[in-house]
């Protein structure tokens, strides 16, 4: 299959079930809400290194938030509900609680929940108190600019992580421009996040490697400088590759985001678009590029 003359490889991305939560962070200004969300998303790039992946969602108007202030959606993904609860506790407590004027609310109705707020309340050192509104408990933790208010419970959903695309370009500049356009398209799909910096990964990886103590290592087949030393995956005229990793709240969401990204990335200077997989042995979901393009028309 070709789009704008660019080859779309007949392959699939191998993706995995992930647990996710949706946080609504509010503050006195949109900038403060976004700042708190960015801090909480910090370094949640890949579960390989920190057991969490995250991305900012949409900015919310006061009319869309529980406390009628500007808000910012933050998505957090992890490989299990237990690990996700750990990350929620850690990231809300470490990043959102200290952020000026912030509050943190659950944004996901789900039968499965965890209670990071029930642990974070102890930061109140005995001065914490709670409010119960329509069965929903909020903790009030005294802080120096007022109170930090957060939900006790956060919903946990069944999401999908590890959707991916590899964009091969004739040079770094054009490959990067295509990747940036693709990330914009991904983030327009509700529920989709691109957890890498700017949504773009320049270091596609493979599991484990030559050294016993590393969980992942560089995917040598996509490194232009190793072209003569390894079995390269690059076409002869490809000199830069960027990977896009996509998590979403459903398989349909990840598929739609990948399809949108492919179309956005089909620009001059891109030679081929492919996806990473492990031969289909590890991931529960196989997202075929040709199929998602047919199912998600432009």
């Amino acid at each position: 299959m070709h789009i704008n003359g660019i080859l779309i490889d007949d392959t699939f991305a191998e993706a995995f079930p992930m647990a996710y939560s949706k946080l609504i962070i509010t503050a006195d200004t949109p900038a403060l809400a976004r700042q708190a969300a960015q801090a909480a998303a910090g370094m949640a790039i890949s579960i390989i290194g920190c057991s969490c992946e995250s991305g900012l969602g949409e900015a919310l108007d006061p009319a869309e938030t529980p406390d009628a202030r500007p808000g910012q959606v933050l998505w957090l993904y992890s490989y299990s509900a237990e690990k996700l609860e750990e990350q929620l506790f850690f990231r809300i407590g470490q990043a959102i609680l200290p952020s000026a004027t912030s509050a943190c609310f659950n944004g996901l109705d789900s039968p499965l929940t965890c209670k990071p707020g029930a642990k974070l309340r102890y930061f109140g050192d005995g001065y914490q108190s709670s409010k119960l509104l329509e069965g929903r408990r909020f903790w009030r933790i005294p802080v120096a600019d007022g109170e930090f208010v957060l939900d006790e419970s956060f919903g946990i959903g069944d999401g999908v992580g590890g959707g991916n695309l590899l964009l091969m370009g004739t040079d770094r500049k054009t490959a990067l421009e295509a990747a940036e356009a693709a990330v914009e398209a991904i983030l327009r799909v509700p529920g989709a996040v691109a957890p890498f910096p700017g949504g773009i990964c320049r270091s596609p990886s493979k599991p484990k490697g030559k050294y016993a103590n590393v969980p992942a290592s560089t995917n040598a087949g996509y490194c232009p400088t190793l072209r003569s030393r390894v079995e390269t995956r690059l076409t002869p005229d490809a000199h830069a590759v960027y990977e896009l990793v996509i998590d979403g709240d459903s398989l349909a969401c990840v598929s739609a985001a990948m399809a949108a990204a492919i179309r956005a990335a089909c620009r001059p200077g891109i030679i081929q678009i492919t996806a990473g997989n492990y031969g289909g042995k590890w991931g529960k979901y196989h997202i075929y590029l040709h199929q998602i393009l047919r199912e998600n028309p432009a």
């Binding site: 938030t65 529980p66 406390d67 009628a68 202030r69 509050a103 108190s129 409010k131 119960l132 509104l133 329509e134 909020f138 009030r140 600019d145 007022g146 109170e147 930090f148 208010v149």
Partner: protein, 273 residues
């Protein structure tokens, strides 16, 4: 199903609905409803002696009380589900002991509205009497859950001994709001009377203005309380029009009652200096 109970024109005295589980009427025939015993003028009667009963199909389950509804006491007493609508004023103890469902009163109510309730929602378009959301006689706790929204004013001892839940009053309330309160939230959009929060242990009283602050309360500055925005937003969504100024400036905060546990708070936008 819609069950309409309309008082007969010859009814003149108080009618207690304490023994009638109104949501259970949906499962009874008209004849069975007529035969239900109730107390009228302190005498035993059958429901059919006092009410005309009309049963109709409708989208949702609802019991409607109409006629001279001022005579009806204990409307929705102990209800746990469904919807009860009072087309007019209600007597005393409406919604007392209820644990679920929705009670809507289009007029005013007598004393003890929602007393000792543990869940559900009560909405009153007019005024509420004394002891709204308070404890029932002989009990130590007031309401332990649920929501009471009052479109008019409320009487004295609003939320006395309240343990949990929310009471919001669009107008004024008389003296001793939140007296002996254990926890929960009371909002009075206009003026709260004297003696507010006397003996309160925990919980929150919020008032547009307050007549006086008891000596058991100490000033705690301006309160930018996130939870209050949450509640105000929720009330707006539920048809309560909030004063614009409440969303623009923080209220003054007083903590107390230090003669009790002292973990309660009064938030007031204006108070006597």
């Amino acid at each position: 199903m819609r069950v309409v109970l309309e008082t007969r024109q010859d009814c003149t005295g108080p009618i207690s609905l304490k023994g009638i589980n109104l949501p259970a009427l949906f499962h009874l025939s008209q004849g069975e409803i007529w035969q239900l015993p109730l107390n009228h003028l302190s005498q035993p009667f059958l429901l059919g002696d006092v009410f005309k009963v009309d049963i109709r199909d409708s989208d949702g389950d609802e019991v409607v009380l109409r006629g001279d509804t001022r005579l009806l006491h204990y409307c929705g007493y102990g209800m746990d589900s469904g919807r009860v609508m009072v087309e007019g004023d209600a007597g005393a103890c409406a919604g007392s002991g209820m644990s679920g469902g929705e009670l809507v009163i289009e007029g005013n109510t007598g004393d003890c509205l929602g007393a000792a309730m543990s869940g559900g929602n009560i909405s009153v378009q007019g005024n509420a009497g004394d002891w709204c959301g308070a404890a029932l006689a002989g009990e130590s706790k007031g309401m332990t859950g649920g929501v009471i929204l009052t479109g008019g004013n409320a009487g004295s001892n609003l939320g006395n001994g309240m343990r949990r839940g929310l009471i919001a009053v669009a107008g004024n309330c008389k003296n001793y709001a939140g007296s002996c309160m254990l926890a929960g939230t009371i909002l009075c959009l206009e003026e709260m009377g004297a003696g507010a929060g006397v003996g309160m242990q925990r919980g929150s009283l919020v008032a547009g203005t307050i007549q006086s602050i008891l000596p058991g309360f100490s000033p705690a500055g301006l309160a930018d309380t996130g939870w209050l925005r949450l509640y105000l937003n929720w009330l707006e969504e539920n048809g309560f029009t909030m004063p614009a100024s409440w969303l623009e400036k923080p209220p003054y905060r007083f903590s107390g009652d230090h003669l009790a546990a002292g973990k309660g708070e009064i938030l007031a936008y204006e108070f006597p200096q």
